[in-house]
Subunit: 227 residues, 4 copies
Amino acid sequence: MNIHSLHKIRLFSADLKRWVIKKLSRNSSDKYNLILNAAIKVFAENGFFYSTVSQIAREAGVADGTIYLYFKSKEDILLQFFNCRTQEVFDRFRTEVEKAGNAREKLVNLIRRHLEEFQHDRAMAIVFQSEARVKSRLNGRLDKYVKDLSKKYMDLVGEIIELGQAEGSIRKDVYISLAKRLVLGSVDEVISTWVNTGGHYDMASMAEPLVDLYFKGIGSTKTAAVQ
Amino acid sequence: MNIHSLHKIRLFSADLKRWVIKKLSRNSSDKYNLILNAAIKVFAENGFFYSTVSQIAREAGVADGTIYLYFKSKEDILLQFFNCRTQEVFDRFRTEVEKAGNAREKLVNLIRRHLEEFQHDRAMAIVFQSEARVKSRLNGRLDKYVKDLSKKYMDLVGEIIELGQAEGSIRKDVYISLAKRLVLGSVDEVISTWVNTGGHYDMASMAEPLVDLYFKGIGSTKTAAVQ
Amino acid sequence: MNIHSLHKIRLFSADLKRWVIKKLSRNSSDKYNLILNAAIKVFAENGFFYSTVSQIAREAGVADGTIYLYFKSKEDILLQFFNCRTQEVFDRFRTEVEKAGNAREKLVNLIRRHLEEFQHDRAMAIVFQSEARVKSRLNGRLDKYVKDLSKKYMDLVGEIIELGQAEGSIRKDVYISLAKRLVLGSVDEVISTWVNTGGHYDMASMAEPLVDLYFKGIGSTKTAAVQ
Amino acid sequence: MNIHSLHKIRLFSADLKRWVIKKLSRNSSDKYNLILNAAIKVFAENGFFYSTVSQIAREAGVADGTIYLYFKSKEDILLQFFNCRTQEVFDRFRTEVEKAGNAREKLVNLIRRHLEEFQHDRAMAIVFQSEARVKSRLNGRLDKYVKDLSKKYMDLVGEIIELGQAEGSIRKDVYISLAKRLVLGSVDEVISTWVNTGGHYDMASMAEPLVDLYFKGIGSTKTAAVQ
DNA sequence: AATGAATGAGGTTTCATTCAT
DNA sequence: GATGAATGAAACCTCATTCAT
């Protein structure tokens, strides 16, 4: 009996436990999501590059090789995350926007939903905030999704602003592409701050004050009027 | 003490002087910066994790081993970038802010300088935007610099806003921490967009319109007044 | 609890049984020993520091990476050698000692077995003689095993000598700790010589003459008596 | 001013001190021995393989390159140690042996001197005990010296034993080559133990008891007589 | 479909040695 | 002779991926 054997025995009981839990709890068809969720969790903890396929497999309770039955590669997992997970989320943004009657409400709904979704799934928020901008060989394909998503978001905000201009609630002389970046940038920053400080407070309630700031600006009425 | 001793002492101090001059004048900074710049360029092209030390060495025109005379590790290069490069830049931000007389001008100066600096060194901009948020083992020490810098920036914006409130140019009821995130977030987004679209247009000229947007908001005067 | 549930439970326990059997029966010991033996052979030829992991892998007929499934590092291989291989051998020493009835026979059995074991596995002998004393960073952990083993051996010899003194076959005024070093040192030297000269002659047969020398000394009877 | 600069400045004062000490204390001709001694000290601390040429240079207060003016390579330093240092020591053994009148005294003188020399220079003792047996590519040339030295020692002991037999103080039926290994092995073991336990006690005084043990053996007179 | 032992390419890093000053 | 910055070969080790079971 050597150290190697001893180590194996220790692992054995941990594995046994995992095996029982897995057998008892799973209906064996949703492996794709099981792995994807495990991966997001692992990526959120260690970052994509410092996460290993084995870690993901362990977290998911499957064998390393199993992952390759559902994903082409480690990079593909991240790709799928950006592709389908964030698409789903974005679709819910749209629904929420459509519920509102005017530009301001639409913007509040969009941002509130955005903050809610990210607040609800912190691992997703971390991965999104951390990995979306990473410059990497993934870029070719990752960019495709990230830029697409970003564009959709921008377009959605653009539509709302144009609606507001038509309604008369938003100034006609607003430089739209700048306004869009103002919105997306500040929401992004709010989420980043939330993520970096541990994610313990309620972010969604910041939607209303944020939109208020967009509309009124920080200038005093007098100043604004004078200009 | 005889003449012989005296002579020895004279020689000694001549040698000492020569030794000190040599030690102090060797501008090892040359190669340090040579390598750092090469690394930033390579990181900007491939991303930190997909860059190899050999690539950096080739770009700098030195041997692989030479890099380890100036940096502890590959990670250390990125750390040094965030530590000294960005500190230098930030110091110039402060100078620019101090030049202006009122809050609005200070904000314009800060943002214009920010955009100018990043525009001036696109590789730096790319690395900063890409790697600063990456969740990694680096984080422990990288975060130290990134968070520190971010805090300094936030504090600077905070001071400006408070000044504006004292001046009467900024509303007293502005939720300061939100306003700060509005500013940092939108500037960040402007830079990211610039980087992602190839960095071919003039970003610095967007400082004035951006600040205008902060002050006046996007809301039409009527709406703002009504609320 | 219905029939369906019952069926599931039956299947479950069948699976559980299969899983446990599989886990326990995999004889990973095979490859562990395959690699360990290959390493000992390579170490014996080149010395630990001049042996490369690739050489060991080639000798074992596995890929370089495979080695790291069974050993933490190159150093760990040497550590495992000292830990388990030499422990096994030492246990056989003890058994051999217990077989004998008196001190002299015990000493002969111990030494004969010692010489036999090393003679039987020349690579082991070489590695043991060469690497056990090496001053290195390994020392921290290597020493643990080597000193422990050395102490056990010393204690065993000490017990035998004390037994001899009780029996009356060994002088009461013998400085025990010196006598122990006499025994261990000379056996060590006999093995070293055997190793260095190519290991072609029978070492085990030297046990009896050696012990004879210990007991009678080199002095002529007359001299001994006179003193 | 970055971390790199700071580090350099810290090193500067250490270097300055070293430079002054060196200039003041040395007569610049005995570099060979200066380096050799420094190397022995470093080898004793870290072992040959974990010692770097830079460490030796620092310990000697010379530049790395200077070492190669006096030694062909790192290995050559160890070689020179075994070649000249131990030869010198061995020559003193011979002188000591010649001083004595009979075999027993000669043996005591030899061993006492041996223990004294090693006790006097612990670093030498450590390096000799640790590195002499290391199986390495050095072997080709290192062995030459080590084996030669070992043979000389063995021959010296052999001569003494033969003298003793002629004198009548040593049994005629002693298996000489075994007796030689008994002597060398036990002295070696005594030194190893002394080195490993920190080298704080007086080893030289063990020469007399050791030789006593060689002559009288451990057996009780009665037993010895009976056999 | 699921497994996980085995693979081996390729990365980071060290350090003995050289050579221009 | 002396220096020490620069070199680059070569080592250890990791881990994404494969494939026989």
